[in-house]
């Protein structure tokens, strides 16, 4: 909306006109892009009680016909033209260049009356509202429509105040005023209200809205500084409007005080948190439906910790209050309610409130770029550890807020800086949330993943139970070399019997007991033979494994099978040994016989010779053993082959 479309008449609008027009504009229920509803506009025009021709002329002149719709500028121009027409001037652009009375709209002003009263009730919360009563007098008499309002509004002010006493709702008169503002109080001459209207439907529309009324704000600015806590209704109203119309989501000082008291009632320490359950009970008292409370919680718990800090609490409270007064809850948290933003509003005292507010307007509207740039800078600088810093900043400012009632000039730069911050926290919150939130489940999943990675490499297969004393036989190897299909209880295949143990035993025995040792030595040998011969069929392998001379096998599986063959073997040993020993004893006896005859002269030679003979004999015995064993091996192999062929022959039967 450029002023050019209406011939630059905007600059000449007076305060009252501005207010009136913006009220009417709001009355026409602009949609999100700021276009007044055509129906409402038509209604308004008809209410001006001008002839249809004049209305057509008005529409034509203001450019609406050209554009096809009533933009903001066109609307204002149209209003001016209507005023001119009502004043009897021709409908021309030139005629509205001068000062004109406000257009009168019959039938619509009544609505404006009531809403205006509602709006004025908001001024109650401002300390300067009292001044509004006497201030009604100086209003320009031509401002008829507006004049009516102060009177009625004053009455209604008192009427409004008692119902406002309920503690849970008393502070937010501003939101209620706000609501009336949306319905268009006439008073909202400030563009910020319009800006606010734009904000209500959605933030993106703000710049659009702000663009057109932008110049109004500029116009207002020179007036604002002159506004003090005084007297003229206009100024008071303007201030009120400025405070409110800035943003209904902005928390005023009084509200904040109230919230602080409420917070203290729940949690004395302002820096501490209110737990979720406590807050739930408290907010449930407001009697809002639970889904809405849930939504409010979602909006206000910015750090998602299930508890409310003081700013979060204020936000939540404010949202509840707003909702109670009829505003719809926004989808996302409004900027003014974001944690970083709340501080600057409160630090300014009333007289200065307008200035910084206006400053914000400036910054926000034309200076939106500055904000973005500033926020980018802030993001860059304050990114690390923002949320915590932000909280501490907020907390640190809170003690400053309450004592400070006198505005200081240096507050402004602080406010501007903090105004820049809301953009950064809002984006940083999202960023930080995703980054810095400690999530135990995520860590466990990572741990789980790591553990899983560690798990698959199963520990190396534990060595099977081995005989503690059977190392010489290497039964471990025997067992491991066993056929894969062999059961654990199945004895190993014929081992390569190390003849050494018998040999060592032979050696150990021989020097000691001769005959007995010989027999003992022979016995195991013979035992081997006997075992092999007599137990071929049943369990040759068992026999082979049990033939070891060493003491008991620790392997229980072998023991079971070992015992069985051992006993029969022992039994056999005797007859065998008895039969076997005679043939063997003879050479030994011969050997022994020779010994005593040779003793006297060279004992050493004899001993050596004896040893040699014994060695030879053992060699002979061992070779016999070897040959026997090989024969046994062959036999066993033959048996194995037969068994395997039997298996193969049986397989087709088994598979079917």
């Amino acid at each position: 909306m450029d002023p050019g479309s209406a011939g630059g008449t905007f600059m000449s609008l007076s305060d009252t006109e501005q207010r009136c027009y913006s009220g009417l504009y709001a009355l026409c229920q602009p949609d999100s892009s700021g276009i007044p509803a055509a129906g409402k506009v038509a209604e308004l025009f008809r209410a001006s009680q001008l002839p249809a021709e004049t209305l057509h002329q008005v529409m034509e002149v203001c450019g609406a016909k050209r554009l096809g719709f009533f933009g903001c500028g066109q609307f204002y121009a149209a209003l001016k033209l209507l005023a001119a027409a009502q004043a009897g001037l021709p409908v021309r652009l030139e005629s509205i260049a001068g000062e004109l009375p406000l257009p009168v709209f019959v039938g619509i002003t009544n609505e404006l009356d009531t809403r205006y009263a509602n709006h004025l009730s908001t001024s109650e919360s401002q300390p300067h509202t009292l001044g509004s009563v006497p201030a009604s007098a100086p209003r320009p008499p031509t401002d008829r429509a507006v004049l009516r309002h102060p009177d009625t509004s004053m009455d209604k002010q008192e009427a409004w105040s008692p119902p406002r006493s309920p503690p849970s709702i008393s502070p937010p008169r501003s939101p209620s005023a706000y609501r009336s503002l949306t319905y268009s109080a006439q008073r909202n001459g400030t563009d910020t209200l319009l800006a606010y209207d734009g904000k209500m439907p959605g933030r993106p529309s703000v710049p659009q809205e702000n663009a057109s009324p932008g110049h109004y704000s500029f116009k207002l600015q020179p007036e604002q500084p002159s506004i003090t806590r005084v007297a003229s209704v206009e100024r008071l109203v303007e201030r009120v409007e400025v405070d409110y119309s800035d943003d209904p989501w902005r928390i005023t000082e009084e509200q904040r005080e109230y919230y602080t008291n409420q917070f203290r009632s729940l949690q004395p320490d302002l820096n501490a948190l209110i737990m979720g359950a406590v807050a739930k009970n408290f907010f449930t008292k407001s009697k809002l439906p639970i889904p809405e409370l849930s939504h409010i919680w979602e909006l206000s718990d910015v750090d998602k910790d299930g508890a409310l800090t003081f700013p979060e609490f204020c936000t939540a409270f404010h949202l509840i209050v707003a909702r109670k007064n009829g505003y719809l809850l926004p989808e996302t948290l409004p900027a003014s309610l974001r944690p970083g933003f709340q501080e600057p509003v409160v630090t300014a005292a009333p007289s200065e409130a307008t200035q910084p507010l206006i400053v914000f307007d400036d910054n926000m509207m034309p200076g939106a770029n500055q904000l973005e740039i500033g926020s980018v800078d802030l993001q860059v600088t304050s990114r690390p550890g923002v949320t915590t810093k932000q909280d501490t900043r907020d907390e640190s400012r809170k003690p400053e807020i309450s004592p400070k009632r006198v505005p200081e000039p240096h507050e402004k730069p602080m406010q501007r800086v903090s105004a820049l911050k809301p953009d950064s926290p809002q984006e940083l919150d999202a960023n930080m949330k995703s980054r810095t939130r400690p999530r135990s489940y995520s860590s466990t999943s990572i741990d789980d993943a790591m553990k899983k990675v560690e798990e698959p490499p199963t520990p190396p297969p534990r060595p099977q139970k081995s005989h503690s004393r059977a190392s010489s036989l290497d039964l471990n190897k025997l067992l491991q070399q066993g056929t894969p299909g062999a059961k654990s209880g199945w004895l190993p295949p014929p081992p390569a019997l190390p003849p050494r143990p018998p040999a060592t035993q032979i050696f150990s025995f021989l020097p000691g007991l001769e005959k007995s040792s010989q027999k003992a030595v022979q016995q195991p040998n013979f035992a081997d033979f006997s075992r092999f011969r007599e137990e071929q069929e049943s369990g040759v392998r068992a026999g082979l494994s049990t033939e070891d001379l060493l003491p008991p096998k620790s392997d229980c599986s072998l023991v079971h099978q070992g015992h069985a063959p051992q006993k029969p073997m022992r039994r056999k040993l005797h007859p065998e040994s008895q039969s076997a020993t005679p043939p063997l004893t003879t050479p030994y006896s011969a050997a022994t016989l020779t010994k005593p005859t040779q003793r006297p002269p060279p004992k050493q030679k004899r001993e050596i010779q004896m040893a040699i003979r014994k060695n030879r004999e053992t060699n002979a015995v061992l070779t016999r053993l070897n040959s026997e064993l090989q024969q046994q091996l062959k036999v066993v192999h033959g048996e194995r082959l037969t068994l395997e062929t039997q298996l193969e022959s049986m397989r087709p039967v088994a598979s079917t």
């Binding site: 979720g276 359950a277 807050a279 739930k280 639970i290 889904p291 409370l293 849930s294 939504h295 919680w297 979602e298 718990d301 998602k304 910790d305 299930g306 989808e331 995703s434 939130r437 999530r439 489940y441 995520s442 466990t444 999943s445 741990d447 789980d448 993943a449 553990k451 899983k452």
Partner: protein
């Protein structure tokens, strides 16, 4: 991009189901229901291991010719099930994992809300937003 996302409570009733082609919802409901069996099997398979040793991401539960079903279970036995179109082969395991992580994050946010009673259907708009972001753009 998921075709259907479901959150199932510990007692195996749905807390939240959303699918993209809203006409074929019944089919997805059925799929999610049958996938619960697979989920149960997976989480009960770890016999002696404690819950914290169990991996939260269950992976591909089972594929059908049209779509694949992925599962994720939290330590409180709340299950997330994502149904993905089979034709969307570009989806990697990591992406599915990140989707589950986001789901879990926003689910935790919902839980943190004191006004949410565990066991109620999830009506959080923030959760809806996150789920919508993960769903296939409705054609």
């Amino acid at each position: 991009m998921a075709v259907c996302i479901a959150v199932i409570a510990k007692e195996n009733y749905p807390l939240y189901i959303r699918s993209v082609p809203t006409q074929g919802e019944l089919k997805f409901h059925y799929t999610v229901h049958t996938s619960l069996d697979v989920v149960e099997e997976k989480i009960s398979g770890v016999g002696k291991a404690l819950a914290d040793q169990r991996e939260l991401y269950l992976g591909l539960l089972y594929p059908t010719e049209d779509y694949k079903v992925y599962g994720y279970v939290t330590n409180s036995k709340v299950k997330f099930v994502i149904v993905v179109d089979s034709s969307n082969t570009s989806l990697r395991d990591n992406e599915i994992r990140s989707m589950f992580r986001k789901l879990h994050n926003s689910f935790t946010d919902v839980m943190c809300n004191p006004f949410y009673n565990p066991g109620d259907p999830i009506q959080s708009k923030a959760f809806d937003g996150i789920v919508s972001a993960m769903m296939v753009q409705a054609s």
